[in-house]
């Protein structure tokens, strides 16, 4: 992870339209943002699209970044992109079908260990409700504090803390 001074310099370069600075930003954040999208959609193809959309949007929006946690700001955009994606009903249907398929595969194979298409964590995540799953992923991949996440979601910090706590506890139980 880039030190905050380095990150500040990179962001300043991006604001001036410097391609190299954007390239560095992609190197820093592509993995985490991709993980966030992948864990929410379970699809590499969709995650590819959403990641591209995120960084193109970043070019448009970087001028609006006014300091504070850049990670929190970036993941807020990522979260909005994910919600836009969900709002597309056709895509939403595909997502649900994908999850159903994952659960059927789990029943049929009882497969263990990592698989590029379906891994155990992905299958168990599919059993959490949408909001909890998204909250856990936002917390994990953005590395934002509970205070920042609560602000992003406009909800009391205690509510955010409680939802993440319950969700992670349930996920651990499912993974046992």
């Amino acid at each position: 992870m880039a030190k905050s001074d380095d990150l500040g310099r990179i962001i300043a370069g991006c604001k001036e339209g410097d391609g190299e600075s954007f390239s560095q930003l992609v190197d820093i954040y592509a993995g985490r943002c991709y993980g966030y999208f992948y864990r929410l959609t379970g699809s590499k193809e969709t995650s590819d699209d959403l990641l591209s959309e995120l960084f193109v949007k970043l070019v448009e929006k970087i001028g609006h970044y006014r300091g504070g946690s850049f990670d929190g700001w970036l993941f807020k955009i990522a979260s909005n992109i994910f919600h836009d994606y969900l709002r597309d009903k056709q895509r939403q249907k595909r997502l649900l079908d994908g999850r159903k398929e994952q659960l059927e595969l789990e029943k049929r194979d009882g497969r263990q260990g990592y698989d590029e298409r379906v891994d155990k964590l992905q299958m168990q995540l599919a059993k959490l409700d949408d909001e909890t799953r998204e909250l856990i992923m936002l917390r994990f991949y953005s590395q934002a504090s509970f205070k920042e996440i609560a602000a992003m979601r406009s909800e009391p910090i205690g509510t955010t803390l409680s939802k993440v706590h319950r969700g992670l506890k349930k996920l651990r139980k499912l993974m046992e």
Partner: protein, 175 residues
């Protein structure tokens, strides 16, 4: 990837604000172990080709952004220049009418404040297109005056021009 270590947040202290001491300790432990579990099951990484494609796409977006910025400046300069020419032409016409009558010269701020201050290139382009259309209409009227195509009633035509300029100056263009 432990969120707690990255953002400097004291989870135990935070949990303590909402829960009793024992529960807060347990919640902190649950969250820590849950996040360890997530860290132990990494999601796939994006393909290097995807990352390269994204960087190329950003490069194209930056070129478009620069081109739009240039176009925007060129539009503004052209519109201001045209506005100055129109104002000058009207002034010359009025002064040619003789010193007997002095009439207030009506001018208009052709570029609305909202367009100068806005960053929304798409909307601005549309507005600037309309402005250019208005200016062309006024230029046509001035030309008609110069050629005497108004049937000799020069003042009437000038008054019409003034009305048009007042409309431009009006609320609609204030953004």
């Amino acid at each position: 990837m432990a969120a707690n270590s990255q953002n400097g947040e004291n989870l135990k202290e935070l949990s303590g604000k909402f829960l009793g001491a024992d529960e807060a300790k347990q919640a902190t432990e649950d969250i820590r172990r849950g996040e360890e579990l997530l860290g132990g099951h990494p999601a796939p990484e994006p393909d290097s080709q995807l990352v390269a494609d994204i960087k190329a796409e950003i490069g194209r977006a930056l070129v478009d952004r620069r081109a739009n910025a240039f176009k925007r400046i060129a539009y503004k300069v052209a519109a201001v220049a045209a506005a100055i020419i129109v104002a000058a032409a009207i002034s010359v016409k009025l002064s040619d009418r003789g010193a007997g009558e002095t009439k207030e010269v009506v001018t208009a701020s052709i570029i609305p404040a909202a367009v100068w201050e806005s960053d929304d290139i798409a909307v601005d382009d549309a507005e600037l297109g309309t402005i250019v259309g208005e200016i062309e209409e006024i230029e046509g009227d001035v030309l008609a005056l110069e050629l005497g195509e108004n049937g000799g009633n020069g003042y009437e035509a000038i008054e019409e021009l003034e009305v048009e300029l007042e409309e431009i100056e009006g609320v609609f263009w204030k953004g």
